[in-house]
Amino acid sequence: MSDLSDEKIREEAKKALREKGLKCVIGWNAEGTPTFASTAEEIDKLAFNKSSVNNLVPYLTYEIRSQRGKTRDGKDKVVVPVGIVVRGCDSKALLLLLNEKILARSEVFIIGVPCTGVVDPHAGGALFRKCVKCAMRNPVVFDVLASDKVQEDEKDYSEVEAIERMSQEERWALWEEILADCIRCHACKRSCPVCYCDECLLDPTDVAVKMDTSAEEKAYRPRWVERSVNVPENLVYHLARLPHLVGRCVDCGECERVCPRRLPLRLLTAKLEKDVKDIFDYEAAKEEGQKPLIAMSCMEDDNGFIM
């Protein structure tokens, strides 16, 4: 990543800010801190380098959806488009949101940056494990590219396959130890780009309560996960998160990056993505306009274990 691409990012961002009247351009500064640049000077601080580790799509979703709503006379509020700098993995998450119509293509100005991997701050200068062999280095959706495309590798499922080969007792020993270490701080859920529900059934009290919500609805809403932090509740917390990511998770690894306990959560999402490919031959965010996997029903699906 020569500073050539930084120049291109800033130039494109300023042009878009002027011509398209962007609310702001979301990117990283030189230290890798997410920045919301809304003036030319702020855009000059944007950069893309080895420490640009955050997936910025959750911020984009927040910036756009917080503009939605109705004006006083009942018409839809006009959404000011927002610019964003995306790497390959971010762009796949963004494409998933576009396919799910959470964000409209016209609301987003996308500056794509082909990426050769970013550095894991805990690993003394080495790349993240997910970046060593990455099959999505080049952005899949963009308005402009900041530098030329780079060579992508074959998707590497070796770690997942290693676990699949384990015996069931070994697998449980591995996951029980991991689940016992989880403190349910919700960082994995809050940083996930495709996890955008306002009201999540895994939040401690999950009712999106309004003034007129009836007492029964509040009283009899099931608590899917208790607040106690122990192996059974953590097991259900993580097992409950996964079905909501079927055919949606792009395995960007943000959940593993943000986990303060450094749990290998990407093993779960990579396994999920691998199964989706094997069983349904489906890949999340493969092309624009793709229908969600779970929303499609198919007679030809294999019956698998069903008696």
């Binding site: 007492a215 509040k218 009283a219």
Partner: protein, 295 residues
Amino acid sequence: MMSAKNDYLPQMAEITSITQETTGERAVKTFRIAFKDKSAKMDWKAGQTCMVSVFGKGESMFAISSSPTKGHIEFSVQRMGRVTERLHQMQVGDELGIRGPYGNGFPVEQWKGKNIYFIAGGVGMAPVRAVMNYVVDQKEDYGELHLLYGARSSRDLSYKAEIDALEQGGAIDVRRTIDVAEPGWLQIDNANPDSTKFDPSTRKFTGFVATIVTAMKCNPENALAVICGPPIMIKTCIGSLAKLGWKDEQIYTTLENKMKCGIGKCGRCNIGGVYVCVDGPVFTYAQVKKMLPDQ
């Protein structure tokens, strides 16, 4: 080494009587309770609260709605969520857990000789009822007493028999108001309350509580007001009183926040640096104005 008292352990109590105050979606019931351990006794000040345990559902903080002079403990509970829904299904004899009393309560000892306006809205009548009955039972220590009780409709007015008796008793001047007009309830124009002339002995009005406060011209001379109810009602009533020349120290109110421990440890009921459960729930408006706008 004597271990410290366990403030999270509730005392077992059972419901001795249930009165259905109002019906409908947001029904209100008054529960009278008695401790299972007959020797157990709790003395409390009007305006204090208790954490009521409904085992299996959780705990909620309720104002004690009976005056200490009555010698029994009552809570008036509106059906709102998990705990209150279960409470409203309970019968006489069912068991509860009680811990408390918590909070500072109304400083009645400083009110000797004052005229007192009790202003309540909807279920806000619960804490007001406790302090009103306490003051009425020692009528001679205080000046003129007034009650202004407002609700959405006449069906939503709680403690009907009790308030009617007070009205006849003459110890306190009782007025009621409702939001939606009904026959026999004098309509006062909310836009400009002073425009409607009315016979001073009128008892039943239609109009927001704040409107009636202005219309009644509550006299700030050697007086103080107790206002409890939904936040919007408290705000508008304080506005009306201010226009009538009331000073902030003369107005008392209770604030409400989500509470889980009730003893100032779990860190959630704070408004700025003030913990509503231990520093409140009773505050003068002067104190509320000094608080950070953390509402």
